[in-house]
């Protein structure tokens, strides 16, 4: 009996590991035991889809995705401090591709060119050329995987404009007229007066992109390579001239038709204001289009129209600094005499990988970013308002059924995608600033000067001088030649 028991025990001991090993071997996943810390900004936008899809990706591959968030204004320094000090707490980042110059120069980012080329599931060619070439690429190498497409547009209440017999704004003068028409009228039937225009003007938020959306049409007319921030031969700022003065005047004037505390509104407030029916017009990225179809929060379902950024019939003469009327030569891409310059503000949230991460973790991080960007996931996420992701793939513009399924009417979907397409395909698209320490130029100097102007601390002349002097000082600090070279490269101009 004792012997039998011993034999049985030995058999069990022999079989057990086999039993344990066989199913495990069949369930072994590519990234079992691998953890990827992904840093992005405090959502819900952007963080939400990453947090939602992280566990799904984990089930497929075994990788654990930790999404860590910080306020947007801290994101730049948080990532760079982590990398520069060698702490390397994060293996992947979902961030602003505008900052790439500061990340690639010291060599903090993993080059993704070969991975992207070998990744068929990503369908790289389906991603819009602008996002592939500008948002993802720096110095001819791919460093990020685009997850979002960013263009600023003007949103309007299509029902109100139709009732009033007005057309969507083509110029900033049109914008003012429409804003004035609907300001202080009850636009959502709640019995209280609402606003003609709602724009995020809070300091240290998104105001410095908003002003450039207004200024772009006055500053750039001869195509994307002309650039709108600096003279591409001398690196002199284009912010102290009649054109920029006019843009500032328009920007300040929109406040007359805005909410009383507009200076304390960021995009969260302006989006909320628009979708709850309190605003006739707004200036924003693609988010309002998808937020407006959310039945839980929106009071303006199928009452929203979007249009390419309004332009100007007058443009900056760079030699004289004067504002001059558009001609065929001066504004070769003008439509009906109006120069439109859609602003690719921000460039779209993109994912990048820490070069210092262990190779297995880098593989897992890339697989996750690719998974997020693949059409199966991305084509759904871009139709959900809370994701903060806007369309950036060709298929997302062509396939209307995605949008109809998400709750948009056919007319609204065509209008929304049409406005983005018009911006994306414009030969006069304005690229956002992508040179070393662009954060200091925009988030510190430009943002502070605009905030002071809006608060009436300074006048237009003082604000222009403050921006020009501040930008010149930073350029001189960092080296004019190096900054000029980076600026020209960002515009695709070859420097000898």
């Amino acid at each position: 009996m004792k012997q039998r028991c011993s034999v049985l025990l030995v058999l069990i001991l022999l079989v057990l590991p086999l039993m344990a090993a066989t199913p495990a071997a069949s369930q072994a996943k590519q990234f079992d035991g691998v953890t990827v810390n992904v840093l992005t900004f405090t959502g819900p936008q952007i963080a939400e889809p990453l947090q939602r899809r992280g566990p799904d990706f984990g089930k497929l591959t075994g990788a654990k995705i930790n999404v860590i968030t910080v306020p947007f204004s801290d994101l730049y320094q948080k990532i760079l401090t982590d990398l520069a000090t060698g702490t390397n707490s994060y293996q992947a980042f979902v961030f602003d591709p505008q900052w790439m110059a500061d990340f690639t120069t010291p060599g903090y980012l993993e080059e993704l060119t070969n991975r992207v080329k070998a990744d068929k599931a990503l369908q790289w060619a389906d991603i819009g050329a602008f996002f592939r070439n500008f948002s993802a690429t720096y110095g001819g190498k791919i460093y990020t995987v685009p997850l979002d497409g960013d263009f600023q547009m003007v949103y309007y209440r299509s029902d109100l404009l139709q009732q009033a017999g007005l057309k969507p704004p083509q110029t900033w003068a049109d914008y003012m007229r429409i804003a004035q028409t609907f300001n202080k009228k009850d636009l959502n039937g709640d019995g209280t007066p609402d606003f003609g225009s709602c724009i995020a003007k809070k300091r240290n938020a998104q105001s410095y992109w908003m002003i450039w959306s207004v200024a772009a049409g006055y500053l750039q007319a001869k195509g994307t390579r002309e650039g709108s921030f600096f003279d591409s031969d001398t690196m002199k700022p284009l912010t102290d001239n009649e054109a920029f003065a006019e843009a500032l005047r328009v920007y300040v004037q929109t406040g007359q038709y805005g909410p009383p505390d507009e200076l304390n509104w960021d995009v969260g407030d302006s989006r909320s204001g628009f979708v709850t029916g309190r605003c006739a017009l707004s200036l924003d990225w693609g988010d309002i289009g998808t937020l407006a179809i959310d039945p839980k929060t929106s009071k303006v379902q199928n009452k929203v129209g979007a249009v390419i950024l309004p332009g100007s019939p007058r443009i900056l003469d760079r030699k004289t600094g004067k504002l001059v009327s558009c001609t065929v030569q001066r504004c070769p891409y003008a439509t009906g005499g109006v120069n439109h310059a859609p602003f690719a503000a921000y460039g779209g949230w993109s994912g990048a990988i820490n070069k210092a991460a262990p190779s297995k973790v880098k593989d897992a991080a890339y697989a996750f970013l690719s998974y997020m960007s693949q059409p199966a996931q991305s084509n759904v996420d871009v139709t959900i308002g809370i994701t903060g992701f806007n369309p950036y793939r060709v298929s997302q513009f062509k396939n209307l059924s995605l949008w109809l399924k998400a709750g948009m009417s056919q007319a609204a979907a065509k209008n929304y995608l049409g406005a983005i397409s018009a911006s994306l395909t414009s030969p006069n698209m304005v690229l956002d600033l992508r040179i070393p320490q662009n954060q200091r130029y925009q988030q510190i100097v430009l943002d502070t000067a605009i905030a002071k102007l809006l608060a009436k601390e300074t006048n237009i002349g003082q604000a222009m001088k403050e921006i020009a002097d501040g930008w010149e000082a930073i350029t001189n600090e960092l080296g004019r030649d190096a900054q000029l070279r980076a600026y020209r490269e960002s515009l695709g101009i070859l420097t000898k």
């Binding site: 204004s73 801290d74 730049y76 320094q77 760079l80 401090t81 520069a84 500061d102 120069t105 010291p106 060599g107 209280t192 007066p193 809070k202 300091r203 240290n204 938020a205 909410p259 009383p260 505390d261 200076l263 304390n264 070393p436 320490q437 954060q439 200091r440 988030q443 510190i444 502070t448 905030a451 002071k452 102007l453 809006l454 608060a455 009436k456 601390e457 300074t458 403050e466 002097d469 501040g470 000082a473 600090e477 960092l478």
Partner: protein, 405 residues
């Protein structure tokens, strides 16, 4: 030598700093060598652990202080003289000398840091003249009194710096001018501490009385101090949202729907100060309450017997006894108040314009864009201001008040 005398000798050398050094001084050594070299060596060896004990006890604290305070202070001083730049392979700190400070005082950051000055109005001239006269009298009094050369120098330095500060305030607070982050911080400190102190004292006085529910109110008044500062700032942000917040209906009923504090520099500053006062009054309250309750009752009772009213008893008997606590409380709070950041950061992001931006927020914003040298320079300017204010307060007010009490 007996064992007892040996012990007393050791204890003396420990009690008297530097005494142990005498035993090893060349002159003393030669004398002892002449008497008994061997005995001295034995004694020295026996007393060695005791002599080292002082160093051993102090060393950990010194090292901790060095690594946590002195070392960061020195590094940040170095950073303020450099420019941070990314280069292939990492980053570089390039030496720029005083360029970051020049930028603040005379360069492109001058209007941000010092403000936009305008010629003073007649009222401004009068105020400045009055302040300058007081400061001059203060210096003259120092010269004529027997305060010594050091006292005169201290008074003169204080008068010059305070005069410059008042001149800056007069010029930037004049119509058309605009205060920079330096003056805004000083306004937060002076107004905040003044209101917090008197409000805290009043609440402490009420809670020191034998009234119903005072225990409940003691806890309630302490609540803001227990909430995280950012939480307080967000609470205030919701409370002060006059478009959607809880006071929005009242604001509309008053016909002020078109008016928002966020658009006005002083409106926004007032809201920031309200939040700060709400947050910090409990600190004043709790310390002053403890001080009030620890006062001997006999003096007040005697005053009452002599016919003094409650008001007189408080002002003539209780409050003078609170002066030492008050003085220390103001000093602690002042050093802390200079560092205000959470309220303006969450409530207004420093806006409208730069109207509510404090020095710490100024430094933080520069640091966020990795202008580390610029940020360190602002932080050092803050350090100079806080040190000057604390030293002046200690020398001119704190010590006198303590002595008077």
């Amino acid at each position: 030598m007996t064992g007892e005398s040996s012990t007393s000798r050791v204890s003396k050398s420990v009690d008297r700093p530097g005494a142990e050094d005498l035993s090893s001084a060349p002159g003393a050594g030669r004398l002892r060598a002449a008497a008994s070299l061997g005995a001295a060596s034995v004694r020295a060896a026996a007393s060695w652990p005791v002599r080292q004990a002082t160093t051993s006890f102090v060393l950990p604290a010194v090292l901790l202080l060095f690594f946590l305070s002195i070392f960061p202070l020195l590094v940040s001083a170095y950073l303020s003289l450099t420019r941070f730049q990314f280069v292939p392979g990492g980053f570089a700190l390039r030496w720029v000398g005083l360029a970051n400070y020049r930028k603040l005082l005379v360069g492109i950051e001058q209007s941000h840091f010092l403000g936009v000055p305008k010629p003073p109005t007649i009222v401004g001239w009068l105020l400045f003249g009055l302040a300058a006269s007081v400061l001059l009298a203060f210096v003259v009094r120092g010269i004529t009194s027997a305060s010594g050369r050091r006292g005169v120098v201290g008074r003169t330095v204080f008068a010059v710096v305070a005069g410059a500060g008042i001149w800056l305030a007069v010029r930037t607070l004049t119509p058309g001018g605009f205060p920079g982050t330096l003056l805004i911080t000083l306004i937060y400190v002076v107004v905040g501490i003044t209101v917090q102190y008197w409000l805290g004292l009043w609440l402490a006085f009420l809670c020191a009385q034998e009234v119903a529910g005072r225990r409940f109110f003691r806890v309630v008044f302490l609540l803001p101090m227990m909430i995280t500062p950012v939480g307080i700032a967000y609470t205030f942000r919701i409370l002060m949202d006059l478009g959607k917040g809880p006071f929005a209906p009242v604001w509309r009923a008053l016909g002020l729907a078109e008016v928002s504090w966020a658009n006005y520099a002083w409106g926004a500053r007032l809201v920031v100060m309200l939040g700060d006062i709400w947050q910090w009054t409990p600190f004043m309250f709790v310390v002053l309450l403890a001080a009030l309750e620890s006062l001997p009752a006999e003096l007040s009772e005697a005053a009452m017997v002599d016919g003094a009213g409650r008001w007189q008893s408080f002002w003539r008997i209780s409050w003078p006894q609170l002066i030492p606590v008050t003085s220390t409380l103001v000093l602690i709070r002042m050093i802390e108040a200079f560092k205000i950041i959470d309220m303006p950061n969450v409530l207004t992001n420093g806006g409208p314009g730069t109207a509510t931006e404090s020095l710490t927020l100024h430094a933080f914003m520069s640091w966020r864009t990795l202008d580390i040298g610029g940020s360190a320079a602002v932080a050092y300017m803050l350090l100079f201001v806080v040190t000057f204010a604390a030293l002046s307060y200690t020398n001119l007010a704190h010590r006198r008040l303590a002595e008077a009490a």
